[in-house]
Symmetry: C2
Subunit: 225 residues, 2 copies
Amino acid sequence: MSSTPLSRSEAKDLTRRRLIRAALAILDTEGETGLTTVKVAKAAGIAQSSFYVHFRDKQDLLRVLGDEGGDRLRRSMREARRRAREAPDVTEHQRDTFRIPLEAICRHPELLRILHRARHDPSSSMHEFAKEASLAYRDHHAADLAALGYTADNERDRRRLEMIAEGINAATNALALGHLEGRYPDLEEAVDVLVSLSKGALRMLKSSSAAAAAREAGPVAGPGR
Amino acid sequence: MSSTPLSRSEAKDLTRRRLIRAALAILDTEGETGLTTVKVAKAAGIAQSSFYVHFRDKQDLLRVLGDEGGDRLRRSMREARRRAREAPDVTEHQRDTFRIPLEAICRHPELLRILHRARHDPSSSMHEFAKEASLAYRDHHAADLAALGYTADNERDRRRLEMIAEGINAATNALALGHLEGRYPDLEEAVDVLVSLSKGALRMLKSSSAAAAAREAGPVAGPGR
DNA sequence: TTCCTCACCGATAGTACTATCGGTGAAATT
DNA sequence: AATTTCACCGATAGTACTATCGGTGAGGAA
């Protein structure tokens, strides 16, 4: 039945994967407090002491988890850009800009939850990493917004664009979690809300650097869906 | 110098206060993982075993902390409503609606951080409490927004109003923390951003229940500051 | 003054977790 | 076939924390 022609290194890598997967699950359900080598090893089906074959110590595991999360995040951001570019028109492109992150969160909510917690927990081993990731994502989104036609060409507007991006990110996360908790069953409604939030904010930018924005005509002032 | 005519119960209450204050500080700087009876007692200047004179166990302390936080939150919400009502005009009223929570967060950022962490940590003793507080705050803000003239009279609009309120809350928290971390030095700019976000969102509501909104004339369509 | 109360103390039993160590057998190498 | 490598194991030393217990002395009631 089960063909098991696994080389030694393949088997080791498999166990390592199992450990990482188990760690993520425990981190999600029980938090960093509940993450112990005992539980991780047991969930991965090996002895507690064998944990140290794969990781120098617990800290090392957290570091690896952070790296993996970072990779996944970066890949997800690139993917989102790529897909949004394929949208048939500006309105749909704009909706994609918000829909894609929402869907990404819903696909792997545990990553967001873990990162989110670490972001606000100075004692977390992943605290610094989570802060950087959060900033990177803000800048990514700021670039997206800028790509929608709202270039900020002075310091003040640039900072406002960053604030808008950070605010919209926070709202995106909140709505995605609300969706997962069953409060907002329809994800498209969340997209509606995010689009409308950003429209208001970008209108402010537009009016403050009216000349530049006017040249872009009406990509945002277009009709709602 | 120091008059010390403290009755026994007064002294006990003082120690209890010191314990709670110490616990909050530790929770903020080291997270729930770092909160131990040893540290709390030491920081409050008593023996570890004396901790149990004031609290049944560690869980009990967390519960009390949650209750205190809830009280403070409710008081803060009432206070915010009261102050916002005193605003000279509609525009300033609107700005107050966003400025007051921002200032409240900046005054006691540790409370938000603690609540925020617990909100996303299922293992936290304050998880359920934090969820309820977050919902209560969303509804409070939704009521504020409704008071600005955007009554939602059908199920769909009501849900959208809730989503907007939750999104704006999230953005408010994010911007307040960004301010505290030094990224956004000017709190008024944060108010600008929040006002503009909400303007966009409420415009959506307005257009979807145009008849009701039209009656309210233009409290939101007014000029920016 | 006498007696009681109780907030606080030090010591400690019990528990949970981390990390190390020597041993084992199967895979890989020779 | 002989030898080496190494992923995994059980046992355990060491550490940190929780919660209990009996004792003590100053506040407060009689």
